[in-house]
């Protein structure tokens, strides 16, 4: 049974690449929300950074026709996640709301899940996370600090979903469309990142994913991600046969 058939919520994200400006507001918002350790210069140089969401930048062409293309990548919360069945201790599992969840106190650090993930969005804690004492004041009490030797990744800000659902439940109502927001989607100034419930056909994300520009990353692996991308538009690209030129 897939999440789409299971319950009221199937949380997912639609990333409109055409609106992404690569500003990294999402990256720093995620860092602050989820108590991600500081990526020191040493860790950057050793390619041991932890960044639950990253904005990849690719060059196309040469001067003066050079173009920089940005694409935000985070855990795709796959319905058919390669990381889930390989975990010997069930530290990563799929919950009833479409989230690929990491149980930190089960994780024994085999890193099989990271090996299996084609999106490279799982991060291993090679060191104990350390903050200067005073900076610990800004740590988010809703999010567990992960210790050395375990794996972590984007949780779709599950703590924010829980807080929103608790509020809605206490007020005797359903969660409204757009009410639950991840830190990254909340920060994104251009609304390139959109979070919502795919099980609600009237939600913004459900409508967005019907756009003809929709695709999923590494579709060939059949992972069935809950993150849908809308392709970047190049207004000067000549469209080949079989397509009607109209404003998308």
């Amino acid at each position: 049974m897939t999440t789409a058939e299971f319950g009221a919520h199937n949380w997912g994200m639609v990333v409109d690449v055409d609106k992404c400006i690569g500003c990294n507001a999402c990256v720093i918002a995620c860092q602050a929300e989820n108590n991600i350790p500081i990526n020191t210069q040493d860790r950057v140089e050793r390619a041991r950074t932890i960044s639950w969401i990253r904005v990849e930048r690719y060059w196309e062409g040469d001067f003066p026709d050079a173009k920089a293309r940005f694409i935000p990548i985070m855990c795709q919360h796959c319905e058919n996640a390669p990381c889930e069945p390989v975990c010997p201790v069930y530290a990563t599992y799929h919950n009833a709301e479409g989230l690929n969840v990491q149980v930190y106190n089960r994780c024994v650090g085999t890193r099989y899940c990271a090996n299996g993930c084609p999106y490279i969005v799982r991060f291993f804690n090679y060191w104990e996370p350390v903050w200067p004492e005073s900076l610990r004041n800004h740590l988010n009490p809703d999010v567990t600090i992960r210790s050395r030797g375990i794996m972590e990744k984007c949780s779709f800000c599950v703590q924010r979903i829980r807080r929103t659902s608790r509020t809605a439940r206490s007020e005797g109502r359903e969660i409204a469309d757009g009410e639950a927001q991840t830190a990254c989607s909340s920060a994104c100034p251009t609304s390139a990142l959109n979070f919502g419930n795919f099980n609600d056909p009237n939600s913004k994300v459900s409508k967005m994913k019907e756009d003809k520009r929709h695709y999923t990353l590494l579709d060939q692996f059949g992972t069935d991600p809950n993150v849908i991308y809308l392709a970047k538009i190049d207004a000067d690209k000549k469209v080949g046969a079989g397509e009607h030129a109209s404003h998308g």
Binding site: M1, T3, K19, I21, G22, C23, N24, V27, I28, A29, Q31, A32, I38, T40, Q41, V44, A47, T49, R54, V55, R57, F63, P64, A66, A68, F70, I71, N80, E84, A96, V101, N105, E133, S134, L135, R136, N137, H138, N140, P141, A183, P189, T190, A192, R213, Y215, L218, Y229, L230, A231, I233, D234, A235, D236, K238, V239, G240, E243, H244, G248
Partner: protein, 770 residues
């Protein structure tokens, strides 16, 4: 139908077998799904949080934000959905500002230097106030209050305090915007910077200004950019800048003109529009009246030769701008930072006259004056020429006391003005700040200052949203003790509160009183977004919402004329700089450190630059083909010399920079600034040459030419690029791109066919070879 027992068992068996067979034929991935309907402890949340509305103070354009506070600790900074500028959104700099509040190197207590050659020693506030009073005792007529450009209540208090002692209040902005203020004043008659109705424009044409990253009101502009792209007729965006900034990267058409030729490029676009009859005769007449000398002598070939931009690209930009209307044109940043900066920006803004985009939907939007006469709604740094005069007074011993806050003069001024020597000649230098900066090395009194999260104020964003806004700033946390409650992180006080305590009290006793008084005055206007029966209720209402705004109060433009300054740019000389290759230096604001004010925070330091993906360092962007020709490779340590000094930076070649241009981020190279900023990278501001805009006297900070030489060392650039293996959609196609109206599926098919062609070709070659 009747079934006997045997038939029933046979049918049941077949059904079961069939079910197994069909299940086996189903999607195999179903087997892999492990689902749990149970909420695990990791999913649960504890405690209650409170969100306070306030304004960002110095760390943005007075953006309205919400602060999440849990058990007396600030946890997050997010955009305030009610605020007209931020509309609930953020930049990469918001949360980083939080780390100044809890910085491990915050100045704990006042510090006094008892003799110019002595060291700073910790002192009590009583001793500090006594020293402050001594400094003011003989300061009448010899006081200068130096701040960053501040508006609202704090700007008011700083100005009044200086006036009380017959002194002056000067604002310092290391990357001056005075030329921009001057251009919109001369062309559009605006006293405040305008905003732009990007969300309704069909074409946006911008020059030099990194408006999606660091210029103007990037959060609000980002929201409008999202709307611009979401329109039924997706907007077309053209950006001109010699180096590809974050904004240039978002453009549909990027033009990379020779630095300083942006004004000519604007005239070239205008020339094409007029020659092709794309503008109405009235607009053409109004445009030509606004340009000194009109377009006489302007031809596309000449413009192309001066700007280095192909004629075809100029024509393309012109046709989009004039035909896909409404259109809006604006500029700033490096386009105005030349000896001809006023001409460049004036010509750019005049383009709006040509297409009728002034005070119209999808065009230029004027901002009205301040809602309260006393509260300054506009501020800009004093011109570089004014600063040179002021520093001469300091050197001559004509200034008794200098009070500095929010302006790291030693880091921000070029070597050529030797501000350190000037500071040494001032008997009393008082510096406010949260973390030790480079200017404090020359201070006689250092006072720990509260951050915007701890202090009162009002903020008037500039540019505003097109109507009157007064944002409020309030303390959202109390004095902060360290994590183990061993003591206060900082015994800081607000800059405004200290000035008011030292004042005659005629303009307020403390900042809370000043803010509530301003809100009371707003209440008495009887208009705007907050209505209440009493001033006290009004004040609470404004504080809860993060401010007050009146959408009915708008501004109006008065078409003027471009200030007649030099049309061609002059650059600094490089003849005497020894060996190396000449480059044109374009400093640019760091997307996370800004001008260095966030360099002390690890979050800002670690945030990858959008273009280079570098962090924690200073790099130099040069054109990749030119780098190849010069034998420069990524990570080569470059020595970059101007007549004002020299710095080192790590080479980062890429195709998004004009050959002959070297782009270096501002923000690093601090001698102090706490453990995360000290002795890190280089300060590009220090090697700027004292060229000035001929009209305003502003520093032409993009007019420096440098000589670049390899040092013979190579180090790894700390960058995120390459840390994760790229997984392209198709080899050579990392990001799927579609044309207008094209589906992703169609684009993928085309990509796949393109990819296959190379193998088909190879097969044929192999066959022919056999």
């Amino acid at each position: 139908m009747k079934l006997n027992r045997r038939e029933f068992l046979a049918l049941t068996g077949k059904t079961a077998a069939g079910a197994v067979i069909f299940a086996a034929c189903g999607l195999p991935e179903r087997e892999l799904i492990v689902q749990s309907p149970v909420d695990l402890p990791e999913d649960l949340v504890r405690g209650e949080d409170t969100w306070y509305a306030t304004s960002m103070g110095d760390f943005s354009n007075g953006d309205g934000v919400l602060i999440r506070v849990v058990q007396g600790r600030a946890k997050r900074i997010q955009g305030n959905p009610d605020h007209p500028i931020t509309l609930g959104k953020s930049t990469a700099r918001y949360d980083a500002a939080l780390q100044i509040l809890y910085h491990p190197d915050r100045i704990e207590s006042p510090q006094i230097r008892y003799s110019k050659s002595g060291n700073l020693a910790s002192a009590s506030w009583d001793a500090a106030e006594e020293r402050f009073e001594q400094a003011l005792a003989n300061a009448d007529g010899g006081l200068t209050v130096v701040t960053n450009p501040i508006r609202g209540s704090l700007g008011l208090v700083a100005s009044k305090f200086a006036a009380q002692f017959n002194g002056k209040h000067m604002a310092f902005d290391p990357v001056e915007q005075g030329v921009h203020h001057g251009a919109v004043k001369s062309v559009l008659g605006h006293d405040q910077l305008p905003t732009y109705d990007i969300g309704h424009a069909h074409t946006v044409l911008s020059f030099g200004a990194d408006w999606l990253g660091t210029w103007g009101a990037p959060t609000g502009f980002g929201v409008k950019y999202g709307e611009f792209r979401e329109q039924e007729h997706r907007g077309y965006f053209i950006h001109a800048e010699p180096r590809m900034s974050l904004t240039a990267a978002a453009a549909d058409l990027w033009l990379a003109p020779v630095p300083g030729s942006e004004g000519y490029l604007a005239l070239g676009i205008a020339s094409e529009i007029i020659d092709e009859g794309l503008a109405s005769p009235q607009n053409v007449a109004a445009f030509e009246a606004a340009i000194p000398g009109g377009l006489s002598g302007i031809s596309l070939d000449d413009v192309s030769a001066r700007t280095g931009v192909d004629v075809d690209r100029i024509k393309k930009a012109a046709h989009h701008f004039a035909e896909a209307t409404p259109s809006v044109a604006f500029g700033g940043g490096s386009a105005g930072a030349h000896t001809n900066g006023s001409f460049n920006l004036g010509a750019i803004y005049a383009l709006n006259i040509l297409v009728g985009a002034v005070d119209t939907k999808g065009g230029i939007v004027s901002n009205p004056g301040s809602a309260l006469d006393e509260l300054p709604a506009s501020a800009t740094g004093a011109s570089f020429a004014a600063w040179e005069e002021e520093l001469a007074q300091w050197r001559a011993g004509n200034v008794e006391t200098v009070i500095i806050r929010g302006a790291d003069l030693v880091h921000g001024m070029p070597n050529s003005v030797a501000v350190q020597e000037a500071l040494e000649q001032v008997p009393n230098v008082i510096v406010f700040g949260a973390i030790h900066d480079d200017t404090m090395d020359y201070a006689d009194l250092v006072l720990p200052e509260e951050t915007f999260l701890e202090s009162w104020g009002t903020e008037i964003p500039e540019p505003g949203p097109g109507y009157q806004v007064v944002g409020t700033q309030q303390p959202v946390v109390g004095p902060t003790v360290s994590y183990d409650e061993s003591g206060l992180i900082s015994d800081a006080r607000g800059f405004g509160d200290v000035l008011l305590a030292m004042s005659d009290g005629s303009y307020g006793r403390n900042m809370e009183g000043v803010v509530r008084s301003a809100l009371s005055d707003l209440h008495s206007t009887g208009r705007g977004s907050v209505s209440a029966s009493s001033a006290a209720l009004f004040s609470n209402g404004a504080l809860q919402r993060g401010g007050w705004w009146d959408t009915k109060e708008s501004g109006e433009s008065t078409i003027g004329r471009v200030a007649a300054s030099a049309k061609s740019a002059q650059y600094s000389a490089t003849d005497s700089l020894g060996e190396g290759s000449d480059f044109h230096l374009i400093p640019f604001h760091s997307n996370s450190l800004y001008d260095g004010r966030l360099a002390s925070t690890p979050w800002a330091q670690q945030t990858p630059d959008p273009i280079s993906s570098a962090s924690w360092s200073t790099w130099a962007e040069i054109n990749s083909e030119q780098a190849d020709g010069l034998g420069i490779r990524e990570g080569d340590v470059l020595l970059i010399r101007s007549t004002s000094g020299e710095i080192e930076a790590l080479a980062y070649p890429h195709p998004g920079v004009r050959p002959g241009v070297i782009g270096i981020p501002i923000g690093q190279g601090h001698l102090n600034g706490g453990r995360y900023a000290e002795d890190r990278g280089s300060n590009v501001l220090s090697i700027l040459v004292d060229e000035k805009d001929s009209e305003t006297g502003a520093l032409a900070w993009a007019a420096t030419q440098v000589r670049v030489q390899r040092m013979g060392r190579r180090v790894k650039v700390p960058k995120f690029e390459g840390n994760v293996e790229a997984r392209p959609i198709e080899p050579g196609v990392p990001v799927l791109v579609v044309g207008i109206g094209e589906s992703a599926e169609h684009a993928q098919e085309e990509n796949h066919h393109e990819y296959q062609k190379q193998f088909i070709g190879k097969d044929k070659e192999a066959e022919a070879h056999d």
